[in-house]
Symmetry: C2
Subunit: 347 residues, 2 copies
């Protein structure tokens, strides 16, 4: 057969290539590379010899340029972690917002392996003026709001940059990163939305001022209606219903409602199901307490009688954050995490 | 690279396998088989020796069972034709309707090759009681509304069945049909919504009564709000905007708005563009007058100034049918053809 019985990535735009994971149809704990969502700002960079060098300079005691094989020879840090695009579910905001119209698939999860950035910074040292760490990728191009070429670049506060699980990654699911996902080196910042995990790392600069590049101070900023703008950082508590599908028609009888829930801060403590948005019952969590950066699978047994239903689902994390019924609207459409719904008819 | 820079089919459900064509991203006049949308009611049938026989019986002078290689040795009829699923764009109905939530990609087009059904029927003859021709596929299963196993089966009025371009097809784009698209033999009824083009043909029966199987008299029937139900037959006049994408952000300057338009009855005579839904200007049609069953590409040059815009597009066919501003709502969500819109921001 020329094509197997399987889902594929869902294209949202070709140039740059933005494709979402068919997340409703994937039971995997580790999403294979070819199902990992792609979110690009520019065309893919060409991989040249120089890409295998990683200079660290700026507010350091000693600038160091690391070679790729030095980096892979440091003791490694490995964890399974999810990445969610800050614009995931943007298409669901009401009023609608401009930008890539992601549905629920701008999220994936896999095993990342790399070296703690803190290990590299312990080789360079930091001056007392060090405030942020700036990451620049090899990807660059023109934005709609300017005629200048700019690279994709983002900074992290020193505290986050020095966290032992902030890594310079070189493997995904036990293979070298694929070219489309940041080969040879990318940053991984677990718990933060995906924009923080800069791909195709070109250089790292420790800086003594707040970085204000366009992907830091124009994009990836929440612009709410009535309050001051503030930056997009950690992943909101969120969930999806993988079964049943929205507007599906099902036989009466037993069905297992199921899905996943996640948070960039703390663990998922409860997932609740409701059929009216008012009364809630706990779903069963299939927790994996040794993997703090992964999503939690959940299930709910339902004996469905004939009729039409709306299934609601909401997750709560150990920081007490709970999914709202209505999304927190902001002009650029980031951080959508309203309770998902599935409308079904039972016949 | 493990995956090329390309779109893929978009999965709507896995069992049965329903996937739509990434039509916004395909410039092809002939959609390759692996990009043709899949719409199944049941699991794929197994292909066995018996599938290579096609019996025609019922209200005929002489029942005949045709062998596959008899069928391919008749003089062939070849044309390029589109198939659109009757549920295409169902997700856009308001109020929403149950069923597969197709967006705009349940449409494809390619070159079909087969034998005119009328040639086969001229071998069997017809009795004077012949009223309809019934087509049964090898695909079968349980529906949500019954515990019985039923095959996918549909009938055609004699007049349509005898049209010279109603064919028993065995090739798509100059290759044998793929297993997922009806191999070895399927019906193609140009101008009609896709449900008429029964796949994996098992048998043909000429009948003297109106067929009332569930895919004829329960599904594929328009159930409007205030008027009597009536059957789904020919494809409505319709169009899509392929560029620009909805809610995209573009540079000021020249842009070519483009897309395709089609009708199951007659030719596309005009495609009009509007920026307010009131004032309309003609797009340029790239007509292909020798291919009556294909879509028509259209283009419109736009010098875009800064601001936010809604682009409307509407097609008219040579029968005088024109796309409405609002869809004709019906309970099962068939035949959606409201004017498409693309909201864009120019910066």
């Amino acid at each position: 057969m020329d094509d197997l019985n399987k889902p594929f990535l869902i294209t949202k735009s070709l140039y740059p290539e933005n494709q979402e994971t068919p997340i409703k149809f994937l039971p995997h704990h580790l999403i294979p590379t070819n199902y990992h969502f792609k979110r690009n700002h520019f065309n893919y960079p060409k991989i040249l010899t120089q890409n295998f060098l990683l200079p660290i300079s700026g507010e350091v005691v000693k600038s160091v340029t690391f070679y790729f094989n030095q980096i892979i020879n440091f003791p490694a840090t490995t964890f399974t972690g999810l990445l969610e695009c800050a614009g995931n579910n943007r298409s669901k905001f009401d009023p609608k917002t401009f930008g890539e119209q992601w549905e629920e698939g701008a999220i994936s999860q896999g095993r990342w392996r790399g070296v703690s950035l803190s290990k590299l910074l312990s080789q360079t040292g930091l001056t007392t003026d060090a405030k942020e760490v700036l990451f620049e990728g090899y990807d660059f191009g023109k934005r709609e709001d300017s005629d200048n070429y700019v690279p994709f670049a983002r900074s992290l506060p020193l505290k986050i940059a020095l966290h032992p699980d902030t890594i310079i990654a070189y493997e995904y699911n036990d293979k070298l990163l694929s070219i489309k996902h940041g080969f040879p080196l990318r940053l991984i910042v677990p718990g933060w939305y995906g924009m923080a995990s800069v791909k195709w790392l070109k250089k790292i600069t420790v800086i003594n001022y707040p970085f204000t590049g366009p992907f830091q101070a124009i994009d990836y900023v929440y612009y709410p209606k009535d309050i001051e703008p503030f930056p997009v950082t950690t992943t909101n508590v969120n969930s999806i219903i993988q079964y049943p599908l929205n507007y599906s028609i099902l036989d009466a009888g037993n069905h297992t409602i199921e899905g996943i829930a996640w948070s960039g801060e703390g663990d998922i403590t409860t997932v609740e199901i409701s059929f009216d948005g008012l009364h809630w019952s706990n779903a069963v969590l299939l927790k994996n307490t040794t993997e703090p950066y992964t999503w939690t699978k959940w299930k709910y047994q339902w004996n469905a009688l004939e009729g039409e239903y709306t299934i609601f689902c909401r997750a709560t994390d150990s920081k007490g954050r709970r999914q709202p019924m209505n999304a927190f609207w902001n002009k650029k459409g980031y951080g959508y995490n309203a309770t998902p719904k599935a409308h079904v008819k039972i016949t």
